[in-house]
Amino acid sequence: MDAATAALLAELNVEKVISPHTLVSRLSVAQQQTVEIAKALSYEAKILVMDEPTAALSPHEIAALFERVSALRERGLCVLYISHRLKEIFEIAQRVTVLKDGQRVGCVDVGSITTRELVRMMVGRDLSAYYPPHAVSADVGKVRLAIKDGEVPGRLHDINLEVRAGEIVGIAGLAGAGRTELAESLFGAVPFAAASIQIDGIQVRIRSPREAIKHGMGFVAEDRKVDGLILPLSVRDNALLAVRNMGSWVFRLPAGAVTTVSQLAAMVDLRAASLDQEVRYLSGGNQQKVVLSKWLATRSKVLIFDEPTRGIDVGAKAGIHELMRELARAGAAILMISSELPEVIGMSDRILVMRNGTIAGELPAGASEDEMMLLATGEQEVAGAA
């Protein structure tokens, strides 16, 4: 069995990195995916279905994955590739089928269609502007969140950053660079071992999510269903989750919280059958809006978004982006982690690029994908030569 496994891994050129005995939990997401492909090869699959395989991968891992997928195609496998990333469709697919609301819109050759036409098929209308306008200098106010010398041994070091009221700061970087770790530490889920944290100019300690929320922070996590929502509970219960957790044991809502759930739902333009509907039955976009309304209910001043539009269709994506910009305009300080470089570029007023557990550099709004990749990989010269 070992020998067969090793042969399969060799076929995928990863026999040096992954041994048959390695526990899968110790592999990176990209390596785990390779194991899944090996699994499919092991029973000589003829059709391989890949559902958002690049969602958690960094660009160079994506390139490696695409090479592998092309090789499989040449071996005669039929690959069904499901993705929200239009760029990938054009890169890897020969034909594309568009589904909308559970129905087939159409199937076309990739060569005969433009991105814009594809988007029109997907949303049923022309999305002229992908992203809302950036902040103008009048929007940007005082420093809301400031971290100095943040450190978590083995995860993060020398974290220094500031986020001002009214701005959206994008955080880019390759997978494993420490972006999600940064979010978790800022929010107290894995507290900084050492750091000086100021919120609105006041020195605070954040040792748990409770304390982070108390100081006006909110966290829209990467995996909604695991970290963001209580699936068997209603829209109402999820929207009020943080408020109730922070309130007293007895009274249902803290004094002064006058925003009702229906008002929250209106703010985020939630589309649900009723506020008592269980969130598990909502679409990804609407689920994300419920998560967002949870932090609107606590009136968070500092919001951290980790991959805010992952697994959300193009139409709802624009809605989430619009909401983020509105929150910033209303005075919130927003940190946005994203693996989608166009999203980082389109949304961010400033861009921080992470590498090896620290912030490698800062770029202004409108920086190019190349500039970000150079900082993220730390290989200026090599990349320049290539």
Partner: protein, 337 residues
């Protein structure tokens, strides 16, 4: 990754076994067992009867472990698959009563009786498995319910000793291969078979996969329903074997045989003591064997020390909680990556 774990296993079977045991999560359980055994030896030697490390006493510890050990081996299989079985105690009772009732003291009905009770075991396991997988009933409720049904039928039909066990059948309970009692042979065979099944067969691998994540293994083409159903059938058959062993040590089967031994909760306790995770996907039968032996050594030491029998449960409870707390603490300390 250390080199030892990545090098292909060219070593001979004994060497691989030793390495396997050392690497197995069961290793600390055996350490606990050895320490407990030594403490008991010393304690019984100083303040008790002094009779601990005698052939007779060790044999008695082993025989005492047989009933629990066999059913716990089956329980290990279902727990690894992410399920559990609360019906085994009643199934043990059903087996004891039915076997004795069918035999009525006649030696020539031994095969018939054994066949019937094994058939009952397969049916009960099948029913448990089908309720869990096809009706999607939580295993706790499903097997609790089936156990209650068995209990109701049994108690409504029999309220005392039923039938009679022929002397030939009692050989299993009392005779042996030279100094080794047949019952110990039964335990060893069941544990070895389970060990082989879990470690070296495709079904065993599927069990761990299903217990680790049912959805993922289903998407990987493992027919998880079949795996869970088969696991339950094996568990029920193990309970039947325990029932057969117990009835062979009695002159007649009685409906309280299984419940008096509390084989449902005790077998789960032994499995968990042995380091198998209640959530499924992790563990092994060798740990369970150690868990069973720990409980038996404790029992025996209490007798040797003439400690009030009522204190036994208290100490068992404490050891059960403490042992699992220890495993959890160990697992938490281990590096996450």
């Amino acid at each position: 990754m250390s080199a030892a774990t990545t090098s292909p296993g060219r070593a001979g079977l004994p060497a691989r076994m030793v390495r396997g045991i050392a690497a197995a999560p069961a290793a600390p359980v055996y350490l606990v067992l050895v320490i407990l055994f030594l403490i008991s030896w010393v304690a019984v030697g100083i303040v008790g009867s002094g009779q601990f490390l005698t052939v007779q006493n060790v044999t008695s510890i082993l025989v005492r472990s047989v009933a629990l050990g066999v059913v716990a081996a089956g329980q290990t299989i279902v727990i690894i698959a992410g399920s559990l079985d609360l019906s085994v105690a009643y199934l043990v009772s059903v087996t004891a009563v039915m076997a004795s009732f069918i035999m009525q003291g006649e030696a020539d009905r031994m095969v018939l009786a054994t066949g019937v009770v094994l058939f009952i075991g397969v049916v009960v396991g099948l029913v448990n498995g089908l309720i869990i997988t096809k009706l999607r009933v939580n295993a706790f409720i499903a097997t609790l319910g089936v156990g209650l049904i068995l209990r109701g039928i049994l108690n409504a039909s029999f309220n005392n000793f039923a039938g009679r066990v022929p002397p030939e059948y009692q050989a299993l309970g009392y005779d042996g291969l030279g100094p080794i009692p047949y019952s110990v042979v039964l335990l060893v065979v069941v544990v070895a078979a389970t060990w082989y099944l879990l470690r070296y067969t495709r079904f065993g691998h599927h069990l761990y996969a299903v217990g680790g994540s049912q959805e993922v293994s289903r998407l990987s083409g493992v027919r998880s329903d079949r795996v869970v159903i088969t696991a339950h059938i094996l568990c029920s058959v193990a309970a039947v074997l325990t029932g057969i062993f117990l009835v062979s040590r009695l002159r007649a089967g009685a409906p309280w045989v299984g419940t008096d031994g509390a084989y449902d909760l005790e077998s789960i306790a032994a499995v968990v003591l042995g380091g198998t995770a209640l959530a499924g996907g992790k563990g092994g039968v060798l740990g369970t064997l150690a868990g069973v032996l720990i409980l038996a050594v404790l029992d025996n030491a209490f007798n040797g020390l003439q400690i009030n029998a009522f204190a036994k449960d208290v100490i068992r409870g404490v050891i059960l909680i403490a042992a699992v707390a220890l495993y959890v603490a160990r697992a938490r300390r281990a590096p996450a990556r």
